[in-house]
């Protein structure tokens, strides 16, 4: 009998392959913050097996478990059976939406992106006092969080690009809408079209993104295929900056938080470290790093829908930074910066930056 559900059609064999060993539970950030077995990957696979067996329906009862996953992929990287949980969850969420069950925050986000150009339903973003949409070698694509939540970090990043005399332009960008694919909805074609046209109009051959998720979306999603077909290179700022000699150093104890979207999802672990080691000889790794880095809790829509648990996850990550005596936590993602900064307690005296912002501060101080 053919299943009604896309997740079953594509992933039935993988779900049945889950041996319930619990390796995922040991590394799941949602479980780590909530201690609820139904919320980790094994629990979710058991529930989806029950759905495939006809014992459960995809309905509102399952919103809390299926929509509470950061899609960080630590479970997948640690799964001896190779079960690709994030992709299964994303497809099950689409089935949930088709069945009429969705977390209201994500239903709202989908509606917001029908009417607005960003996930926060806000008006005009900062223009960062720079001319936009001009002819340039590179487009710097900021992303929603960098435009509306971490604009100071974005401003510093642009200052750094200016110091390095990079030929770039901003565009009248709109949300790449890739995040919708994580929460049960498709990318908005009209938003993708506006971004593609904006990028092509500048004549740029490279798009540098401040957001690793935007980079993933442009590089992988069919809605943005035109960019790739026209030979536009899409890279994250950490890739763009590796190899640059900044000529500054700090003696502070610095650690690095791997964003899931850059690390586990794109395999970019060494580029940021190569840069950081140059500017911070006193670099130290947290206990969980690279493929095993603990998620900050912001991904997969969890920051918007389950904010308290999201911040609890970030606190667990900050505990790891505290344990190695870090004075500075660097990362490469505005969502991570935002969530970690929200989670930081007053007694914790370390500072949290995007690497670009920190380098800019060092260069400014050296002038």
């Amino acid at each position: 009998m053919t299943s009604n559900y896309e997740f079953e059609k594509e992933f039935r064999e993988q779900i049945l392959r889950c041996s319930r060993c619990g390796f995922c539970q040991a590394v799941c950030p949602v479980f780590g913050a909530t201690l609820r077995p139904a919320l980790n990957a094994r629990g979710k696979m058991l529930i989806l097996k029950e759905v495939m067996d006809g014992k459960l329906d995809l309905n509102d009862e399952l919103i809390e478990t299926l929509f509470q996953c950061t899609t960080c992929a630590t479970c997948y990287k640690n799964c001896p059976s190779g079960v690709n949980v994030p992709e299964i969850i994303k497809l099950a969420r689409k089935d949930m939406v088709r069945a009429g069950s969705c977390h209201p925050a994500f239903k709202g986000m989908n509606e917001v992106l029908d009417k607005h150009t960003n996930i926060y339903a806000e008006g005009e973003p900062e223009d960062f006092e720079r001319e936009k949409n001009r002819q340039a070698e590179n487009v710097y694509f900021v992303g929603c969080v960098g435009l509306y939540r971490e604009d100071e970090s974005t401003s510093a990043t642009l200052d750094l690009l200016d110091r390095l005399k990079v030929d770039y332009t901003l565009i009248d960008e709109v949300c790449c809408s890739g995040v919708l694919e994580d929460v049960g909805y498709p990318i908005k074609d009209h938003l993708a079209r506006k971004n593609i046209e904006g990028i092509l109009a500048t004549g740029a051959r490279t798009v540098i993104t401040g957001c690793p998720y935007c980079s993933r979306t442009f590089n992988n999603k069919p809605q943005y295929a035109e960019l790739r077909e026209k030979g536009i290179r899409i890279i994250h700022i950490t890739q763009f900056l590796q190899g640059v000699d900044f000529g500054v150093q700090t003696d502070k104890r610095v650690t690095y938080h791997d964003p899931c979207d850059l690390g586990r999802h794109c395999g970019i672990y060494e580029e940021p470290r190569n840069t950081i080691r140059k500017i911070a000889p006193n670099f130290v790794e947290m206990a969980d790093n690279r493929e095993n880095a603990l998620c900050c809790g912001a991904g997969g829509g969890v920051r918007g829908a389950y904010a308290k648990n999201s911040i609890a996850m970030a606190r667990r990550r900050l505990d790891q930074a505290e344990a190695v005596g870090a004075e500075i936590i660097l990362t490469e993602c505005n969502s991570c910066v935002h969530n970690l900064a929200n989670a930081k307690l007053r007694k914790q005296k370390f500072k949290i930056y995007n690497t670009t912002q920190f380098i800019n501060e060092l260069m400014e101080a050296a002038e």
Binding site: G108, M109, I119, Y120, R149, A307, K308, I311, L345, R346
Partner: protein, 141 residues
């Protein structure tokens, strides 16, 4: 004072972005009013500046967030931060539970307490302001 479902004590002073202020000895205490906490929904983060931070009347000095909403906290008077409600660091939802009590946000050492008089106060003024605010937000929906 109950106004169209919102609890707006008439003995408090109100900053136009919906922060209440009251005197406490030499200091002022401020927090978010009931209208704002209802509109914001579940508060998940409140920025708590260090003591001594200078604040300027009408200027943003902190951030506050619910799920997808980011709010700015505006200074009701000129002065300095003289204390913060550290409970909000781990329990920001106290603002939703008890915005005029356990959910207080900041203590301020004002440069001039007389600036309180520039804030919205008195039953009639509060009623007029809130009615206009309710209408404004209803239009925006």
């Amino acid at each position: 004072m109950e106004m169209q479902g919102y609890n707006m004590p008439e003995d408090l002073y109100y900053e136009e972005n919906h922060f209440w202020v009251k005197e406490e000895g030499d200091l002022l205490v401020m927090g978010m009013d009931d209208f704002a906490q209802v509109m914001a929904g579940e508060i998940v983060y409140v920025q708590l500046p260090d003591d001594g931070k200078e604040i300027k009347k009408g200027k943003k000095f902190a951030k506050i967030e619910s799920g997808k909403w980011l709010g700015k906290v505006f200074a009701p008077v000129n002065g300095k931060i003289a204390g913060v409600n550290e409970e909000l660091e781990t329990h920001p939802g106290l603002i939703n539970d008890d915005c005029y009590g356990k959910g207080w946000m900041y203590k301020i050492q004002p440069d001039d307490k007389g600036e309180m008089e520039t804030l919205i106060h008195g039953k009639e003024a509060i009623e007029k302001w809130l009615a206009a605010e309710i209408e404004k937000y209803a239009e925006g929906e």
